[in-house]
Amino acid sequence: MTRPVHEPAPLPEKAKPREGPPQDLEMAPYWAATLEGRLLVQRCIPHGHTQLYGRAHCVTCRGEVRWEDASGFGTVYSFTVLRQHHSRSLRHLLPLVVALIDLDEGPRIMTNLVDVAPEDVRVGMRVEVFFERVSDDAALPLFTPVPE
């Protein structure tokens, strides 16, 4: 299912834009899909194990893997609220909610929770993905609470 891909918000003075992903041959399909609003996970062909980040083979059974679309839904495994940051590309976003999300397909991924007050975030909260473009090559998967 395709999710919205937002343009980044205008930057405050002196702030730097968020950095895109490093060049990584193995992750190229993942980042290409983000520009189309699609979140991918790797699934192994022999047993259906899932994983992120992308690897040359399945870390559970060593079987062959392929990329497939994820639902974009998940659950908060844990979170923190960063109150300070060394990077000028992130300082203007403080307080920044950094969270680990267990995707419904299985893999756990790092992200930021946005459009939610930090004090309202809970472990176990249901969340869904959207994307924010960070470069010509990639959009960053970010998550927001699923409306109840």
Binding site: S78, L82, H85, S87, V98, M110, L140
Partner: protein
């Protein structure tokens, strides 16, 4: 560890450098000062050294230090698992001397991260390669990673901020007895909770200090140590492992650290039981690091660490004396603190620990933690041969 009686591994010398603030020293000078003190403590010189281990942030760091020191050892180790690396170096060095691959192994650590870079507690250290940068794009930091573990531990087991704070309060009390400690004034649980929030739920006083400093130790055989001045400390056993590297998303359970596997394996190799441990030196990058490590080593059940640390249990005069020098939370944390744990354990086992000396300390457990709660290395050190 099984070795011929004469070749059993011991620590013959150990020392810290000056700390915690060294504005006029280069990193290499910190290594040298620690090395000279540890060798003098052992009654040995650089000419006796035929094995060397260290680690730092640059490529070929270990041989670079050899070149700088003007030594040309025939046994080298630059294993890097973060702050716990030096526990691994001691484990490796012990195996090497027992196998006859080296006679005298010098292990050194030096850092001037505070004076060189200032406070970097909110930052992420080191360089990152492509897959290791996976988590980093979302702005996660070192303290953020430990905060994620703390949030999960609280949600799963009801651990409270007050319980975490108790750890910082106890170690600060120890630092009050350590003239070199970076922070020595007593603090209360309320002080910790009132300190600035860095990454929820970790306050500034839940985080280690940022310091300069280093340390060194000398590993040799029991036979060689017989003629040396100080009472040797036996390296009874060691083990290390990882749960993930720099991506905390790759940990299956952030409330369980590497200590859950390195601890039991090290105890088994040492042939000693947890209940025989007299003094603990645990990596305390953050209060949550200590709490999780205590659970994983088996001192209490998973989830019970919060109530376990209450009532001053970890104090030098409590039931389980821990971090008797004030730890990284108060005394000194130059970035990779594992060497300080070893030096303090040796001091305790020799009865040289001063005001926080644990009476009749015969068995010490040292556990280093590296990375983002990623790696762990356990050592059992004792006054008696296995």
């Amino acid at each position: 560890m099984t070795a011929p009686a004469g070749r059993r591994a011991v620590i013959a010398g150990a020392a810290t450098s000056d700390y915690p603030v060294l504005p006029d020293k280069a990193e290499t000078e910190v290594h040298v000062q620690a090395a000279e003190r540890a060798l003098a403590d052992a009654g040995l010189t650089f000419d006796d050294v035929d094995g060397y281990a260290t680690v730092g942030y640059y490529p070929m760091y270990c041989v670079g230090m050899c070149e700088y020191l003007g030594i040309h050892p025939t046994w080298l180790d630059e294993t890097n698992i973060g702050g716990a690396s030096f526990e691994v170096h001691v484990e490796h060095a012990a195996r090497a001397v027992e196998a006859g691959a080296a006679e005298v192994v010098l292990i050194t650590y030096g850092s001037v991260q505070l004076s060189a870079m200032g406070r970097r507690i909110g930052g992420r250290g080191g360089s990152v390669s492509a897959t290791q940068a996976w988590d980093a794009m979302w702005g996660n930091t070192l303290v953020g990673s430990y905060a994620l573990a703390a949030t999960r531990h609280m949600a799963e087991y009801g651990t409270t901020a007050e319980q975490l704070a108790e750890i910082a309060v106890t170690f600060r009390r120890h630092a009050g007895f350590n003239p070199f400690a970076q922070y020595r004034d007593p603090i209360t649980v309320d002080d910790v909770l009132a300190s600035r929030m860095v990454a929820d739920p970790l306050h500034m006083l839940d985080c280690c200090v940022v310091s300069d400093g280093g340390g060194a130790c000398v590993v040799t055989t029991e036979e060689r140590a017989r003629d040396l001045p100080k009472r040797p400390v036996h390296v009874l056993g060691g083990a290390h492992t990882l749960t993930h590297a720099l991506n905390v998303s790759q940990s299956h359970d952030l409330t369980v650290s590497s200590a859950a596997r390195s601890g039991p394996l090290a105890l088994q190799r040492a042939g000693v039981a947890l209940e025989d441990v007299d003094v603990l030196q645990l990596y305390d990058s953050f209060t949550i690091t200590v709490l999780v490590t205590l659970e994983d080593l088996g001192f209490c059940a998973k989830g019970e660490g919060g109530s376990f640390v209450e009532g001053g249990r970890l104090a030098f005069d409590g039931a389980l004396p821990t971090n008797t020098d004030g730890g990284g939370l108060s005394a000194c944390h130059p970035g990779m603190r594992g060497m300080f744990l070893i030096v303090e354990a040796v001091r305790q086992l020799r009865g040289e620990a001063g005001a926080t000396q644990v009476a009749d300390a015969e068995l010490a457990l040292v556990h280093g933690t590296g990375g983002m709660l990623s790696t762990g290395a356990t050592l059992l050190l004792g006054t008696e041969a296995p």
